[in-house]
Amino acid sequence: MMVSKVLVLDDTRSQFDSLKTFCEECGLVGIRPQSGDESSVMAILESNVDLGGILLYENFGGETGGGMGLARKIHDARPELPMFLRRDSLTSVVGLSEKDAAMFRCAYTQADLQQLRATLDASIFNRLYPTDLVRGITEMTRTSLDTLFPNCDIDVETPYLVKDRIIYGEVFTLIAIDSNWCRGYMMLQAAEEEVMGLIRRGSGSEGEAMTFRELNNVLGEATNMVWGSFKNRYVGQNGSGNDLMQTQVPIIINHHRCYISFGSEDPQLCLKYTLRERNRPGAVPAPIFQRFVFNLNWSPEDFMENPSVESFVNSGELEMF
């Protein structure tokens, strides 16, 4: 069963057991802050960037409506996280301002958790990932990591669903997955120093200088291996025996070092656009850099513009059919 981590902001002791049981039944892994003060809650939010949602009691912190201030702060910081509001007696957001009500996917009471269950299913558990797919992904990734980190044992936790869009660590790889039944991306995200330490010690070169680029190579190769295994196992071929999934190369980003690599050493075409506010001639202009990285194919001898049927309609205008 797929699970999801939720931050539980409910300090009503009498509800703890029933809430725990409910979470177990729904596949929710509850994380509760040590104390109910705002800074503790925000700290736990900062250290958990892979949450599925938040269960919040309206009167959290002991004051009537005390949870709402916290809800606003959380919503400002993490608007992607669905929030579910427990109220003492109301199963709707009546009485809340329109802005406050809009923060919550539903309101529920402890007496009626079915509404919460239905909303959780719609908000977090609304995509089915086939068990065989998840199992297969886990196996192929473990195999890849085993190969690249022979000095390590690899543990894998129960797969879980995440609504957060926060990146973990400083370095991540990105590769497109494009088949006839699924299209999207895979990422590997890691903390630079932790993984560099493993590589250094695994290669017996502890003490030697190592740059983040070596880490790029290892993570890039891990991404490549998983992608290849995924393609071999789950992507079909067309009638001519050709792969339905085209060549892809991992993109490697280290945002701590403001670094991005597409795997190619060819020069990138770069254009700089400078935006100057007309009404503020003394203001600092804002540059936007555009880069084209044709790392997968570059055949300028085949360059051409599409022949256009003369159109009497300019962009922005409505062409009626």
Binding site: S315, G316, L318
Partner: protein, 121 residues
């Protein structure tokens, strides 16, 4: 209850188009992708016009248009695509799905508002 449904995964576009339409007296609902658009269509029978992007996650705009006609059996709502796409093949697919018109971004509200109001009335 809304007259126009704006379907685009870009909040910038939803805000721009929605604010313009509202300023011109139209009531507007929003959807973030084709799947959401279908749900909003099902939930609000008062929608007379859907303005949709093509390239969106989860379900693209042309598939949404086809499903409005097919799965929802709604042949009454007018559909206009508002998109960066301009290929004849895409327009042909849209015509086959019974869409009424095509606007290539950027949106020029002034140029299209009278046509939009006719499609809504």
């Amino acid at each position: 209850m809304a007259q126009v449904l704006v379907v685009d995964d870009s909040s910038t576009v939803r805000n721009e188009v929605g604010n313009f339409l509202a300023a011109n007296g139209l009531t507007v609902a929003f959807a973030v992708d084709g799947r959401d658009g279908l749900e909003k269509m099902k939930a609000d029978p008062s929608i007379k016009l859907a303005m949709c992007d093509v390239n969106m996650p989860n379900m693209d705009g042309l598939t949404m248009a086809e499903k409005i006609r097919g799965d929802l059996k709604n042949g009454a709502v007018n559909i206009i695509m508002l998109t960066t796409e301009n290929s004849p093949a895409m327009k042909d697919r849209g015509k086959a799905a019974g869409i009424k018109g095509w606007i290539v971004k950027p949106f020029n509200g002034t140029a299209v508002i009278s046509s939009i109001k006719k499609l809504v009335s």
